[in-house]
Amino acid sequence: MTARTGRLVADDIRVAFRPAQRNAAPAIALDGLSLDVGGGEIVALIGPNGCGKSTFLRVAAGLLRPERGRVTLDGVGVTAPDPRIGLVFQEPRLLPWRSVADNVTYPLELAGWSRERRAARLAELLPVVGLEAAAALRPVQLSGGMRQRAAIARALVLAPDVLLLDEPFSALDALTRERFNLDLLGLQERTGTSILIVTHSIPEAILVADRVVVMTPRPGRVAAEVRITAPRPRSLALLDEALTSRAAAEIRAHLELGEPVG
């Protein structure tokens, strides 16, 4: 493998929302946020509620145009939704009238892939997320975890260089969540995509990330970066190691907490 692709750079992002009343000051969600996700790296973005984590993810995905600053992926500006970026929302957002298979291949259908190519890509991808047996089921027939797996498969189907996840496991129970975190690490090994994951859980951030980026309260910008030096592959035992409690303490110190997190 030569120079790895999937380097996402956000530079000096500012986002302000127009206020509801005409004379009120605009609500500034992000101000001067700069962030760098290296090729093949997993970065966790953590911060108090309402600090603009999800807003930033929308900017990075090209869904929201910042007032100032720019996002580039491998040097090319991201100004609109981009096939090189896979996005996983907080909710699975599956189309309830489609089977799992048709949900996962939905982006291919929109991109005009033939039925044969879609089927081939599906056969390749379903084992990666462990949904081979569920291909013909409808979303209502799946557990919450399986739905989110399907959503992740859909985000991966166009083989993006970077995967953006917006608190993807927040609706899952703690045990499932830990397993999904490890699965996400495995997924990164197999696909080589860079991952930026938004979370409000400190253990989750430490378990999956090479680097944890801590955001300030609104207007959001980067307060600190904490490097997680534990080698991969990782296991749940990492959560009991001294390294974890040191990193957690450091992250906590940087979070200007208005309310308890994680």
Partner: protein, 267 residues
């Protein structure tokens, strides 16, 4: 437990069909009860045949009138009016409903007129429309279309508006074109609401056709009702015609329900 034949899970179609037919028994029971009560009222009240004929008299007249070709041409005329009027009204209703859902300007512009047109009874409009469009098929199709148009418009508007914003954002993140959003997100999501509107619309279509015929026509079930009550003074035929109208409505409704099962039954 194993003695209950209704719960034995066998994949074979004959049994499945048998089960679904067995499931229809309340319809038969309700019909039987209706006929029995009707007969009782006739017997107890002793009303003459020209006020309330007995069910067996009406049944016999219905069979006879279909066999000798009294009803068939009228029924066919009404059926054609219903199908054309329903198609026209539903088509316009879908298009206008979509426009109303997606454009605030169009909604502000059109909705007062839509509501006003709906508030004027179709019965009052029918003579005017008959005057404009003549005594032929066109006037009935227009009246029928008008009566179907409103519920379809509202159902489509509500359905399209109900599409999950999250799914629309998903579509945007996947660079879906306007047409792709319409075909893969908006229409499937709005389908249950639209089909609900079609159910209401198809029964109203029959009403519209009959009203149109009353306002001036030489053939149709509405005409036959007038003939049977007036110059023919054949009250059993009047009842047989009413039964035919009801059956036409039920048949149209069942078609819509079957389409609905086919399209959204698997959700």
């Amino acid at each position: 437990m194993s003695a209950d034949p209704g719960t034995i899970a066998v994949g074979g179609t004959p049994l499945a069909l048998g089960r679904s037919l067995v499931g229809l028994w309340p319809i038969g029971a309700a019909f039987a009860a209706f006929v029995i009560v009707w007969k009782l009222v006739v017997v107890v009240s002793g009303l003459p045949e020209f006020i309330l004929p007995a069910p067996e008299v009406v049944g016999a007249r219905l069979v006879e009138a279909w066999a000798d070709g009294t009803i068939a041409p009228h029924a066919w005329t009404t059926f054609v009016e219903v199908v054309l009027g329903f198609t026209l009204g539903a088509g316009f209703g879908l298009a206008v409903g979509y426009a109303l859902a997606r454009s605030v300007l169009i909604e502000r512009f059109l909705s007062p007129y839509l509501v006003a047109a709906q508030a004027v009874p179709i019965l009052a409009l029918a003579p005017l429309l008959a005057l404009w469009f003549g005594p032929g098929l066109l006037a009935k199709v227009v009246i029928c279309g008008l009566i179907v148009f409103f519920p379809l418009t509202i159902a489509t508007m509500v359905g399209i508006r109900s599409v999950d914003r999250g799914l629309l954002e998903l579509g945007r993140s996947l660079r879906a074109s306007r047409r792709q959003v319409l075909c893969t997100l908006e229409i499937p999501a709005a389908l249950p609401a639209i089909l609900g509107g079609l159910r209401v619309g198809v029964t109203l279509a029959v009403v519209g056709a009959i009203v149109g015929e009353w306002a001036g026509a030489d053939r149709g079930l509405g005409v036959l009702v007038n003939l049977a009550r007036g110059s023919l003074f054949d009250i059993p035929l009047l009842f047989a015609t009413l039964a035919t109208i009801a059956l036409l409505g039920i048949a149209c409704y069942v078609v819509v329900v079957l389409v609905e099962r086919r399209l959204v039954g698997l959700r």
